[in-house]
Symmetry: C2
Subunit: 658 residues, 2 copies
């Protein structure tokens, strides 16, 4: 099969043509396929004991007229199923599975059956409030739900070639296109939770229908215009919120919370709900690369810079407060009350991926890697059945229980949530890793993440097969082998050189090479032939990380990182309270092998000290005698593996003493 060359800008390689084969990532991919997807199917059918019910399948059955009953769950509960179907699509692209496909096809029939004659599809409004369609976009997220349906449909069609769900999605998108717009009788508005925008770009790519791209542009361009759509809608429905029925509100919805306080091209700072912000920025980047709209790209760059240079945690997570799961302000990065939702890091990854289509710069890949290796994988337990929404930088389990301001900080991963956005989001990301690892276009094949894989593509008119081998995250050897390379002619291989690697060396077929280093990527252009190997060796020595002085929370503190992995201290290794520990400045950071549940991981061991109460303190709450400083061995474990042993304290940023 002749592959279609992807030109104009670097695009991800089609999932069907990428096969992940990686010591570190393949177990995750397998976990998603063998455990997460089946487990979530059980959850969607309310068959997980002791977990909050999803209601999702049941809602569709009721909407389809197959079952009697009342709607259950949130307004946007349908997305549980859509995200699962999207993950299934990606999984099937990687490897066929007739049983799984049959289950999915049945679910798709159910979705189709729940669609209304005019294309409308949303079980909440069909079952619970039939007359209230499109009257509360601020709260009820109908377009958000539609977006997830579209993403699922595109993924499933791409994997299986089956169009049933894509047809449902197009009918819904057509209905939306007719309903929304600036023509008389149309709703000139947009959703409270962005998602439809990036989904419509995918639908455009899958169908070639320019209308869908234009509709995405409409939603982005409308957003933030005055007078505010959200405020008009609020007035029209009697100043109420769907979250507090019957209560007349004194203040209208916050516009900055919804990234709607000003037109997107004028936005300077990441505000509001972090996931919604990221989904919007990703769509903006999608539109910028396809439209060549410089003002949109400039806004993307500003919002990117603000996000990752002022408001991002060292684990690649965002959202400093659980109040609205939101950004707060520059350099406000408290460690013990952060939200850092798993989904927000997935959104940041999507944004980074789109920015890499606009311009290939190392920072995008660095952040993508940071969020993926630390927050996203930390969001899921190694059993694939327990999940974190919140990814704290510091945990004191007693405070999670006993201080209401920290109730959102869980010390133990949970089985399933009523608002189950994170687990299926992790599943769909991990089953589409290939979309993030590589891209190709304009005669260049990029490796962004250096994940072991085999890929096929057409580049510079040549059909090429490459094999990426990688020791990451434990070892720094990376090798990109040309497994097949029909014909001849120059093209470029480009590998990201992570900013964390202090010294990086390159080889071509085993000999030292000097690729061009530009914006954090190493480029080597030549007439690549089968058997050629482009190698890179990264500096994996553990290193210290310090935060900017403006970050009050981290003054006098240090974090540890090795390769892409951020480390943390756990009570299991270091005792409690962790706050009593300090790392000695300049102490040697030694690598030690993890054991038990951490077998296979490299831990970091170093010299530190423990503050202890003087003998005469007598248990006083306050005293004049200074603490004693006792030398103490300190052990740090990869953050992504925290919370897989006995529950206890955890801390990323550790005090450092000279």
């Amino acid at each position: 099969m002749a592959l279609q060359e992807q030109t104009v800008f670097p695009r991800p390689i089609e999932l069907k043509n990428v096969s992940i084969k990686d010591d570190y990532w393949s177990p995750y991919v397998k976990l998603v396929r063998d455990t997460v997807i089946p487990y979530q199917w059980e959850a969607l059918n309310d068959r997980v004991a002791d977990a909050e019910p999803s209601h999702a399948i049941r809602n569709f059955r009721i909407a389809a007229g197959i079952e009697e009953g009342a709607f259950g769950g949130f307004f946007f509960q349908d997305t549980d199923l859509y995200k699962w179907l999207e993950a299934v699509g990606y999984a099937l692209a990687a490897a066929p599975d007739a049983d799984l496909e049959r289950v999915a096809d049945e679910a798709i029939s159910l979705v189709a059956a729940a669609q209304q004659a005019d294309g409308y599809l949303n079980t909440y409004f069909t079952v619970a409030e039939p007359g209230k369609r499109w009257t509360n976009l601020t709260d009820c997220h109908e377009l958000y739900s539609a977006g997830h349906l579209i993403e699922a449909a595109v993924a499933y069609a791409g994997a299986t070639g089956k169009k049933a769900l894509l047809d449902v999605a197009c009918r819904l998108a057509d209905h939306i296109d007719a309903t929304f717009g600036d023509r008389p009788g149309q709703i000139r508005g947009y959703d409270g939770h962005q998602e439809i925008e990036l989904a419509l770009v995918k639908l455009y790519e899958a169908t070639g229908e320019r209308r869908y791209l234009d509709l995405a542009g409409f939603f982005i361009d409308e957003r933030g215009r005055q007078p505010s759509f959200f405020h008009q809608e609020w007035e029209a429905r009697g100043r109420t919120s769907a979250w507090t029925p019957g209560v007349v509100q004194k203040t209208p919805p916050s516009l900055s919370y919804h990234q709607a306080d000003k037109p997107v091209r004028e936005q300077e700072v990441a505000t509001g709900h972090a996931v919604r912000a990221m989904y919007m920025y990703a769509a903006m980047a999608d539109l910028a690369v396809r439209s060549g709209d410089d003002s949109l790209l400039a806004a993307c760059r500003r919002l990117w810079d603000n996000t990752v240079r002022k408001q991002m945690y060292v684990n690649g997570s965002i959202g400093s407060t659980h109040h609205g799961e939101a950004f707060t302000f520059d350099y406000d990065l408290p460690n013990d009350t952060n939200y850092s939702e798993t989904c927000a890091s997935i959104g940041l990854i999507m944004f980074a991926q789109r920015m890499l289509q606009n311009e290939v710069k190392g920072e995008y890949g660095d952040v993508l890697e940071r969020a993926l290796y630390n927050t996203v994988t930390a969001g899921m337990a190694t059993d694939g059945k327990h999940f974190f929404y919140v990814n704290p930088m510091e945990v004191w389990p007693a405070a999670s229980e006993g201080n209401p301001g920290k109730h959102h900080v869980k010390a133990v991963r949970q089985k399933w949530y009523g608002c189950a956005c994170c687990p299926p989001n992790v599943a769909r990301l991990l089953s589409s890793l290939g979309h993030y690892a590589f891209s190709a276009g304009e005669g260049t094949l990029y490796s962004h993440l250096h994940i072991g894989a085999e890929a096929k593509l057409t580049i510079a008119g040549r059909q090429v097969g490459v094999r990426m081998a990688s020791g990451l995250p434990w070892a720094g050897q990376v090798g990109l082998t040309l497994a097949e390379a029909a014909g001849s002619g120059d093209f470029t291989l480009a590998v990201r050189v992570p900013a964390w690697s202090a010294h990086t060396s390159f080889t071509l077929n085993g000999e030292p090479a000097t690729p061009e280093i530009r914006d954090g990527y190493a480029y080597l252009r030549r007439d690549w032939q089968a058997g050629d190997v482009f190698g890179m060796t990264l500096d994996m020595r553990p290193r210290r990380i310090y935060a900017a002085a403006e970050v009050r929370a981290n003054a006098g503190r240090v974090a540890l990182q090795r390769g892409p992995l951020v480390y943390c201290l756990e009570e299991a290794d270091n005792g409690a309270p962790l706050a009593a520990l300090a790392i000695r400045a300049g102490s040697e950071l030694r690598e030690v092998a993890g054991e038990g549940r951490l077998a296979g991981a490299i831990l970091i061991e170093t010299e530190g000290l423990r503050l202890e109460e003087p003998a005469n303190a007598g248990g006083a709450l306050y005293r004049s005698e200074p603490p004693t400083r006792t030398p103490s061995r300190i052990v740090a474990v990869p953050y992504t593996l925290w919370g897989n042993r006995e529950p206890g304290e955890m801390q990323v940023w550790v005090r450092e003493e000279p």
Copy 2:
């Protein structure tokens, strides 16, 4: 006039017989009299520009039928006026003021006019919900309001001898006594906000009516019995809360929040709303000393220990979270999100005062002093017109604005609050300082706070006049002079020896003396004669304070204290971010004179260092280069004076480096 000797247990000296004459405290007393009381009268009449209206006087006028209109403010808005009247009572006890007394008498007439024929008095239920009396004690605080009326009445009668308000209070108390109890037809319940209990003890003392003491005991004994009164009441009103009208709640009111999860004698740990807890503990101590109930005293001791040894901030404040203005759990003392309400420290002072009636121990006086000198006075600006509810240990003004979890932490004192509990509470405490400074009984005169004053009392059958002179909080000389001492016969003078004084010396008439030191008090018994002087010199050297290792928030941190005053760093002296600063362990703590708005205060200066970003950091959010450590002079100011200059950062607990 022959003064009545106070026997059985040490009681405060009547306010009329104590005259505060103190370089430090007299200006506060004068500020309350000349500024706070008149300002609050304006506030009660809704005449303070740009401040939230109180509605208090207007509500009484409406309830009395003098004015038409709707009730305004909270259910317990009456207490604004009652607390003001109480403060006026204390002020008039200290010095007559015909104009003020006339204004107060008019207000009292208004209160009397609003009282119902059966003795009931509460403007909310009279004006807004006439049929709903006593149906929601959990939320609406009718008994709390009644308690503040009683306290005002006792104070006003004690100062002026006028009984009009006391008669109103007795009629209301009689009505309550008839309404509540365990006889058929009575309500077997208690209030959501404790206050009536300690007020009824005062009413018993003022009237000699044993019924009032018994009614206080009933409320204390009933509290926490199962089945829960609050839950029964909640069911009876249809599972609603007065705070969210029309909403049927899923969960009943929290019992631990209301200190009603178990009978008070079984309570081990301070829980729930901190002010309510303190008012209850004070009443329990009141009842314990009058009843000799050992199980009640044991509970008081346990709850005291838990409060001050596990849950108290170093400034004598309590309430670790703004969620419910409440306690959290042992050793959870976050510095940047604490509530530490001014009123809660006033409640702690009341509790300490009552414990000193049960047993004279230094810890009670130490805590009383800590809360008074630090939190209570910090709660009011030096102009007497701006107030803090919340007394933070750390302020980053940008976070107070930009992080919703810190919105309660104000960087600037506010003019007046809709729920204006703190300003009048500060006023009534500062105008009754004499009640806390001294007590006498069983042949001993105690000085708890060493506040300059003249007092008259009868002790061991002798009429005595004493004059306390004190350099506190700036200088450590304290002298108790017998100004008059009719007749002869032994009695004891006892002065608290503050735990913060590392070396304390004593004199009798200028010669070294060796009083008996017992439980933190120095006792000297003799046949005191006019002209005798008992002197004490306290160690005023600045000292370091360290918190117990269990307090995670203060690991590696130090606080500074000098005499009774806790210190803090302010941006005005040290620049921002304060988090970049550390004090050198073992550095000399030098005293320097305050200037400008801090003139008259002693500041502390010491050597420290400032973490600065290395030259090559380039503004990165995260970097590998360690910060540089630049020597830096550090200046600390008394916490009580913070926030009286330009708004900026503030920090009590400062990093310490070896």
